[in-house]
């Protein structure tokens, strides 16, 4: 983990309200695990005061160029404009500077028994699954079930497909792929045969439903959670969730930033969310 001030290479709006940002990040890839994230300080002064957490979509490098530019390693974030911080972020350009703290947190466990893996994404929840897919496809068959509200919110499909990941799209309004919820697609898919693992990221109601489905089919599940965060390193305790077996007498609070953001299904007390 390191804290570094760096340069934005590009920041493109890929769909209304959805952006991809590349920042220069030499050496960042070393030891980086799928599902980890960074805390980005968007602007030094005045607002916003706190950093914002973003999972790492992918890393890569730009080749050296004949005019003297060396190889430039970068990390890429996929984000949605949801509030003040991301709105400011969307106005940044290549050449602007930001502070990055990371990689942070515990990522996906990719070391599990033989069999295929099913990745389930809800909207912008696709972001932490790309590196995961990249890693898993080297060892096993991987499917991505990608759900979104509408076709504008379906992101990065071709990049998954290019990796050899079978991708099934569903949208709430039917504007792309199958009409319906991604959780329905998952349940249908599990009826046909159970994979070695399901890994998911998306809104909480979706994750709760996936938890129910995976439990009923006895499939191991890992989820990447989202949370408001103050520090990103387990100090401020702003992002806690209740762990399995939590009680007021013997608290078992987990920080999304340090204990997560990826959790095994059984680590979490799922009853804490209505």
């Amino acid at each position: 983990m390191k804290d570094f001030n760096t340069t934005i290479l590009s920041n493109q709006e890929i769909s209304p309200g959805f952006f991809r940002m590349r920042v220069l990040a030499p050496g960042f890839e070393e030891g980086l695990l799928p599902g980890q994230f960074v805390m980005m300080r968007i602007q030094r002064n005045p607002a916003p005061f706190l950093r914002r957490p973003f999972c790492i979509f992918r890393t890569g490098s730009l080749p050296a160029e004949c005019d003297g530019l060396a190889v430039r390693e970068y990390l890429e974030l996929l984000y949605k404009v949801v509030g003040q911080g991301t709105a400011i972020m969307a106005t940044l350009h290549g050449g602007d500077r930001v502070d990055i703290l990371g990689p942070l947190g515990h990522g996906f466990d990719v070391d599990f028994g033989a069999g295929e893996a099913i990745l389930v994404a809800g909207g912008i929840g696709v972001a932490p699954l790309f590196m995961l897919g990249e890693t898993l496809i080297r060892q096993r068959r991987v499917e991505l079930l990608l759900g979104a509200r509408c076709r504008e919110e379906v992101l990065a499909v071709t990049e998954f497909e290019r990796q050899g990941i079978e991708t099934y799209v569903s949208t709430d309004d039917g504007s792309l792929g199958r009409k319906g919820l991604v959780t329905e697609v998952l349940e249908q898919r599990l009826k046909e045969g159970t994979p070695a693992a399901v890994m998911a990221c998306g809104p909480l109601p979706m994750l709760k439903e996936i938890h129910r489905i995976c439990n009923s089919y006895g499939v191991p599940l890992q989820v990447s959670l989202e949370s408001l965060m103050g520090c990103g390193v387990g100090a401020c305790l702003g992002c806690v969730i209740k762990g399995a077996g939590h009680s007021e007498q013997s608290p078992r609070q987990l920080t999304v930033c340090e204990d997560g953001p990826v959790f095994r299904d059984g680590d979490i007390d799922w009853s804490q969310w209505p």
């Binding site: 983990m1 804290d3 300080r41 005045p46 607002a47 916003p48 005061f49 706190l50 950093r51 502070d99 703290l101 949370s227 408001l228 103050g230 520090c231 990103g232 390193v233 387990g234 100090a235 401020c236 305790l237 702003g238 992002c239 806690v240 969730i241 939590h246 009680s247 007021e248 007498q249 013997s250 608290p251 609070q253 340090e258």
Partner: protein
């Protein structure tokens, strides 16, 4: 006698450390050390309780042996689950929190967290609180004889829990009672952390000084709130929370100035400090040391940057001992 290790020395280093500014090789680094009770600090910069975990959380990001002290998360007799989420909300120039003093409890701290801290050559200040007078006494007794705990900071001011000490922090008699009790249990340096959520903070400061406090730290967070207009709900599950960050610095500075003029014990300044310049304002206002709070979240290396900035300022100003600055405010 010079204590240079020839092995680590590069030719360039001599020039860099020895002859800068043409003052010759004998120029000394300014002395940043300060004293709080029996505590000798290498510099006056330490974290504010609750913003630095139990120290280890930041060990990968900051050299813990370059700050003046490590102040732990507030400890209670039993483990405490804290408040429901959302617990934090960003505001202009700062943030609200209502964590509710979640902590592992004093026994787990001693068993699981303290051994690591004992390996760090920086004094540990254990912050603690109680729900009742008896609990304050009980936690104090457990911390009293631990060699790894250099000092304690008694929290009589958390705004986010009903019995988090605010009762003791807003009434001079109650404050006197709790501090006297802890004083009887603990011989080591005792700092008392005060709340700003009171009409006249100096009344409490004087009461705890009389009860035997070795120092006071001020201020804890200012009570505040923030509302989501669409859901018409508070942005904190606890409804209200404590405001911290640069937004509160002018208020904190004023209170430190007032308290420092009313008590003879050292004052530790807290409130929105983000830079060496901010820390210097507190020292000039009368603080002997400072605590850095929410700035740690934004810039994990900030405390070391502040310590470096203090040294730079002293060099530029020709100040040999930083303690010369304490309470040096010029008022015409």
């Amino acid at each position: 006698m010079k204590q240079r290790k020839g092995r680590d020395e590069l030719p360039g280093d001599k020039r860099a450390t020895g002859t800068r500014g043409g003052k010759g090789p004998e120029e000394k680094a300014p002395d940043l050390s300060v004293t709080i009770g029996d505590l000798e600090l290498r510099n006056p910069v330490m974290p504010a309780s609750g913003t630095f975990g139990y120290g280890r959380e930041y060990a990968r990001l900051i050299d813990l042996e370059r700050i003046g002290a490590i102040v732990t998360k507030g400890l209670s007799l039993r483990p405490k689950a804290g408040n429901p989420t959302p617990r934090i909300a960003e505001t202009v120039g700062g943030m609200l929190n209502a964590v509710g003093l979640q902590n592992v409890g004093v026994d787990a701290f001693i068993r699981d967290k303290l051994p690591y801290l004992e390996g760090i050559a920086t004094p540990v200040i254990a912050n603690f609180f109680g729900n009742t007078l008896e609990e304050y006494g009980e936690v104090a007794a457990r911390l009293a004889d631990l060699p790894g705990v250099a000092a304690v900071e008694v929290n009589i001011s958390c705004p986010n829990v009903k019995q988090g000490g605010i009762v003791f922090g807003t009434d001079p008699q109650a404050a006197h009672a709790v501090v006297s009790l802890v004083r009887r249990r603990i011989a080591k340096t005792m700092i008392v952390k005060l709340t700003p959520n009171i009409t006249d903070i100096t009344v409490i400061a004087r009461a705890v000084e009389e009860a035997g406090a070795d120092a006071v730290s001020c201020i804890n967070t200012l009570t505040g709130m923030s509302i989501d207009i669409h859901s018409r709900r508070s942005r904190l599950a606890n409804v209200t929370g404590g405001l911290s960050g640069p937004a509160i610095m002018p208020v904190a500075l004023r209170m430190v100035y007032q308290v420092a003029r009313q008590v003879r014990i050292p004052v530790i300044g807290i409130g929105g400090i983000c830079s060496a310049g901010d820390a210097l304002q507190f020292l000039i206002a009368g603080a002997t040391a400072v605590q850095v709070g929410s700035a740690n979240f934004v810039e994990p290396g900030v405390m070391v940057s502040i310590a470096d900035g203090l040294a730079r300022f002293c060099r530029e100003q020709g100040i040999d001992y930083i303690r010369e600055l304490i309470g040096s405010l010029v008022v015409d």
